[in-house]
Symmetry: C2
Subunit: 334 residues, 2 copies
DNA sequence: ACCCCGCATGTAATCCTTTACATCACAGAA
DNA sequence: TTCTGTGATGTAAAGGATTACATGCGGGGT
């Protein structure tokens, strides 16, 4: 058994209150006593039991984070932002990824419920009502990249519509008239918003509005790769493609390579997210930069404000911007 | 304030003991009482305070995980494995990534100390002694990809030496005689082991043992990209390269592309890790498969065994195997 | 008719820390 | 000398859940 504060008190021949005072606030305690206590604690290898502390303080300084199991790099970036901010204010992250089923996610949230001071959920197909009766009113929640309806939860999302619009606009400026879309599935919030940006740009620039140009993907690399087959079978063949995220765009580049084709000559490609890998493929990927790390940082900032009762739930949007590289036909930016 | 077990007991007109019994073991309790309690709990939106539970049970069912801030995809894979196993046995992950400084890591471990049942550290430059007096004896620890010396901590690592050997061997079989090495830095355990595998193969196959063929990298994509410059300035120029991880290998592919060169014709490239992206670049990357997710799963399994006192610290190695794709000059496996 | 046993439930100790309040000793003032 | 104020330290009550042990009630055996 680990040493308790009582053991330290005994060893230093003082009461537990004095030990606690020395170890925390260093209230007025006589210098000699202080030294005695510190010595005793060290010699016993004493570490305060955080659980008891948490129980007493009625806060855990822990934040629950729920992530979907896709999005390798995307996920890593967001987590980094979360962790940075959390640590800066002495909080810890309890992460849970790889939940696919709704009931599984439900179980995870349930099990997190009594242990965390707040919750950050990245869960693109979330329905609000569902959360409403799962989470107690007293628990602050920040939702990332999801529908911003309810007044109860804070939300934070990328400017998906404008980003997608800019991507398609750029392809139109390159002279493309048949621009395909690779979606991220009908359920996903980001995917729906990006599709609406695509459609708006198609309409505004008078591009070919053929519904068969909208191909269904699921945000995985593999679905991007598989889409190449479909694209080649379209007549007339599209000359450009907007993929709703970078993973799929990279899959498309791979698919093209396997078919002996190449971007941008055979198909101009633009992605969304600007994951680090977008730099490093050949040709490098033109994409819409989404500030993933900033998303994490802002989310944590806001959550901690909510926890400390310094704020009430709001709804923010993070701006995106197009990054021109090779896959659209530009020469890369410096 | 959230409802407590006492509130539920009052509402259901029973004692806290009965409530606890109903909510947990469902000991022998009269059916009618049970229903009454459940109803009361539901109507109050009661969730047990996990902190109190943890204090009483003397365990938190939480595991601390410390990761370096590099290795985007690598990290994600390992975490996935950890999470899977943890959740399967009702445990939670407290992760901390992006620690770079040693004292920062120290602080993180300190702050984790009273809150977790065990620790999993992925920390390639770790020195054992350092941990020895930081972590109390009673806390189980699993070290990943690090030096396997002490008897106190469990360790788990890839078979780096054999994997690297197989990679260089394969390049030799392709007929290459000047095979360069891109290292992961002198401090890093994985990097050192992989270098020793490279050297062994170079010796066994009578390849050019020129020390200037060993280039220093740091496991980042950028260092791979930068290495291309150096490789081109070597005389005679190496015809093949073994990069100590996939991130750097991908950087090399990118660097080649920028220089108007291409693998495998201008330089055959083999990596290490087999991150998912290795499939998806063009040309696809021949690499040594390291079972990252399995590493995570095994680590968690072992840690939980240690926590439950079902085991004593051991030292395991996970086998690696070469995956032939395009960047070495092979045609890809089916 | 009496006793005992078992089932359903209650009482209270315990986990470890923090902290409001109590106490004690001593110095300086009257 | 006695009283008071102050600084250092101790005592004990939370905080919320689990659980060993205690209690009380009713039915079955003799």
């Amino acid at each position: 058994m680990d040493a308790t504060i009582q053991d330290v008190a005994d060893r230093a021949d003082v009461s537990v209150a004095t030990v606690s005072r020395v170890l925390n606030g260093s209230d007025r305690v006589r210098e000699a006593t202080k030294e005695e206590v510190v010595k005793a604690a060290r010699s016993l290898g004493y570490h305060p039991n955080e659980t008891a502390r948490n129980l007493r303080a009625q806060e855990t300084r822990m934040v629950g984070v729920l992530l979907p199991n896709m999005h390798g790099e995307f996920f890593a970036q967001v987590t980094r932002g979360l962790d940075r901010k959390a640590r800066a204010s002495g909080h810890h992250l309890m992460v849970s990824n790889s939940h696919t089923q709704e009931d599984e996610a439900k179980a995870v949230i349930q099990s997190l419920l009594g242990r965390v001071d707040g919750l950050i959920l990245l869960w693109p197909r979330l329905s609000h009502d569902f959360l409403d009766d799962l989470v107690p009113d007293s628990l602050p929640v920040v939702l990332l990249n999801t529908d911003r309806s309810g007044p109860r939860f804070e939300t934070l999302a990328f400017d998906n519509h404008d980003g997608a619009y800019a991507a398609v606009e750029h392809l139109a400026e390159h002279g493309h008239e048949r621009v395909a879309l690779l979606t991220g599935g009908p359920q996903n919030y980001d995917a729906r918003e990006r599709r609406s940006g695509y459609r708006a740009a198609v309409a505004d620039y008078g591009l070919d509005a053929d519904p068969s140009l909208e191909l269904e993907g699921d945000f995985t690399r593999e679905s991007g790769r598989a889409a190449v087959e479909q694209i080649r079978s379209l007549t007339p063949r599209p000359t450009a493609l907007f993929a709703s995220n970078d993973s799929m765009a990279l899959g498309v580049l791979r698919g093209l390579h396997e078919a002996g084709l190449e971007a941008p000559d055979d198909l101009a490609v633009v992605g969304f997210d600007d994951i680090p890998m977008a730099h490093y493929v050949a040709p490098s990927l033109t994409t819409v930069h989404a500030p993933m790390q900033e998303l994490g940082e802002r989310a944590m900032e806001r959550l901690l404000a909510l926890v400390q009762d310094d704020a009430s739930p709001a709804h923010q949007t993070l701006h995106t911007r197009l990054v021109r590289r090779e896959s659209c036909g530009c020469s890369p930016e410096p």
